[in-house]
Amino acid sequence: MTWTLLRGGWLHDPTNGIDGEVRDLAIQGGRIVPLPAEPPAEVIDASGCIVMAGGIDLHSHIGGGKVNLARMLLPEDHRDRMTGGANPCTPGDNPLELISCGHATPGTLATGYRYVQMGYTAAFEPAMLAANARQAHMEMGDTPILDHGAYVLLGNDEYFLQRLAEGAPPEEIRDLIGWTLHASKAMGIKVVNPAGISAFKYHQRRLDVDESHVHWGVTPRQVVQALARGLTDLGVPHPLHIHGSNLGVAGNIASTLATIDALEGLPAHLTHVQFHAYGREGPKKFSSAALQLVEAVNARPQLSIDVGQILFGQTVTASGDTMRQHANAGLASPRKWIGADIECEAGCGVVPFRYQEKSYVNALQWAIGLEIFLSVRNPWQVVLTTDHPNGAPFTSYPHLIRLLMDRPFREEQLARLHPDVAANSALKDLKRELTLQEIAVMTRAAPAKLLGLSDRGHLGPGAAADIAVYRDDPIDRERMFTTPEWVFKDGRVVARAGRITATPVGGTHFVTPRFDDARDTGFAAALRERMARNGSLHPQHLEIGHDELCACCRGGRLLPTECFEGAST
């Protein structure tokens, strides 16, 4: 069997303890293999290049109802800026790229092309509704090249809250979680504003961690505990993905720390923590609580975070958190927004937004995100995200990487911001510059580990040959990370110097938990009955089978992830 030699690059493979050593890589049958004895069929000269596994974005809104709503809300985002901003987007010169455009709300095609062009080979949609799972899988299936998966939402649907309120035993909650993962073919569970999206529908406009939902009487603390416990019992590799209470509210560090406390030592992933690390100090009663948050993370190796960095410019915030998006709707720019309930399972709020350098709040948000990146001690606990498109479109990752790696560049940016921010921020004293190895951890090795993907995010023998080869450029890391020389997906060159060269269909990641659904007596029967009475989905269609998933995802490969052995079922 023929193989390809990727020769002489500097490897950054944190999973295997390789930090910038010159190594040869052998690619055969879509995998990385030990160097075969026979000569290679093809040699690619990677000398002078940095070689990393393909990037993995563990939190990026690329599929499902709200993403499409965001696209529909902002048709202007899909017009061609190059020709005056009014014309439809025009075909490029690459016949492999079908027409697709969009900046904050790229179409599925553009999402795939743009991710791959910067060396990413997988992305995970963090907020899929079970009732919407088909749509989400279809959209992701329509996203070329990239592997994908999704976390399904629990913690605000009426059935879960009702059973929690009625005191369902932990085994039932565990099995309900397992069934939901199985039925929607998800990779994990995300909870958004625990119980808060539901509380919003009962006229509550905030819900603190120990405050009761007025109707169900449960607290966010109970919700978080029940879900984190259930996932641990099922052995799902990705721990509970938490979008905490009080997103964006000054002083919300208190509820973030209370949420961490509610976990009682169970593992969890706190997402877009930049939006959850605000104090109430200073002249504007809005301050950074990044260091308090980081202290909690540094003390708890079982926690991981992604940052949700904001960057300046036009974007759109798309979230399941109807409660918080309703509160932000007045800040919409342009002045239009969408708020919706979806099947009483969760919510949906889409608010376009322009982050401005001269805004004290926005500038402080920018600084808080960077403070978090630069002060967490163990890079394996931090994943690089902008919560695309909420903090900024994913296409700004190379810029963000440069901010983290290049202190003078960072300080130049800081000097342009609202002056009070520079004066009051810890950022100006943070001298740390992240290394290439740390970036490799935050953008591929750690996300793979946190998702339980044993054959991704690294370059050891047996790993999928998803590889990004960047021409080293110590002066301008932004340029370097914008346009890798080669990007391989399953051993095939899919981008060469910024140009898409092949568009294979991406694969779908999902977990395969073992659970007991007590089909005729337990929650599965109750859910079917409820769906028949109130839902828009036929109860028989709640579960997505393997064949159907395959069809949804345009025949892409199914990539099941086993749960940990010894999980209690």
Binding site: L74, P75, E76, G84, N87, P334
Partner: protein, 283 residues
Amino acid sequence: MNGHRLTLRQRLPLRLDLRGVLPGALAALDLAAIERLPVAHGREWLPLAECFHIEAFEAEEPALHLIGDLSRVDHLGWGLAGGEILVDGPVGDHLGSTMRAGTVRVRGSAGDLAGVEMAGGELHIEGDAGHFVASTLPGSMDGLRGGLICIHGRAGDRLGDRMRRGTLIVGGDVGDFAASRLVAGSVLLGGGAGAHPGYGQRRGSLVWLQPDAAPAPPTTFVPGQGDTAVFWQLFARDLAGLGARHFAGQAIADALAALPARRPQRWRGDLAVDGQGEWLLPR
């Protein structure tokens, strides 16, 4: 040669998109290059000369003169930034949309979406216009942002939807939802209107030149009591001037000329939204 005359060779089988075929752009090219210009016809690209017989003529400023049944020609004058376009015959959709300066005159009728997101210049349609005149591209917040649109005949539904500046004058009747969601600017109607005029009108002025043809104001409008005598005199004289310049010899010119001598009845609304808009019914 600053001017070009384009005569349609035969009736077009499909829609033809003339985006980019602008007087200034053509003035910078020689005839052979103009003849080769690719234009989108259905899903294909054709050289411009396949659709039109093209000849140059002397003109002071860049000018484009089109002749024939252009009712399948869309995006004529799209983004126009100067110069003059004259059409003898009907045209299709998006006439003068997103134009910023210059003049477009059609001696015929226009399709839908004329003057969408236009920001300046003048657009004259001597026949009728379709729906969504002076409104927005999909999803945008603002329609007409400046300039003058004169329609001698009738216009369709959603006239001036979300328009926020500029002047829009229609000689004849208009369709449903006239001046809906009007943000600002002046809309003058020489005839009557269909259902729901002024729906969601936030600000701006809607003038009914024939008050007897106007529908009863919606229930979300209230009589305005403020003294507007000075404003009215300034506004009415300006409008009378526009009438003399652009509608000479037509009934609407007389109606505009008579405005300074009349006293308008004034209504405020739509109170369901901002309620800062007005209806003026000069009697």
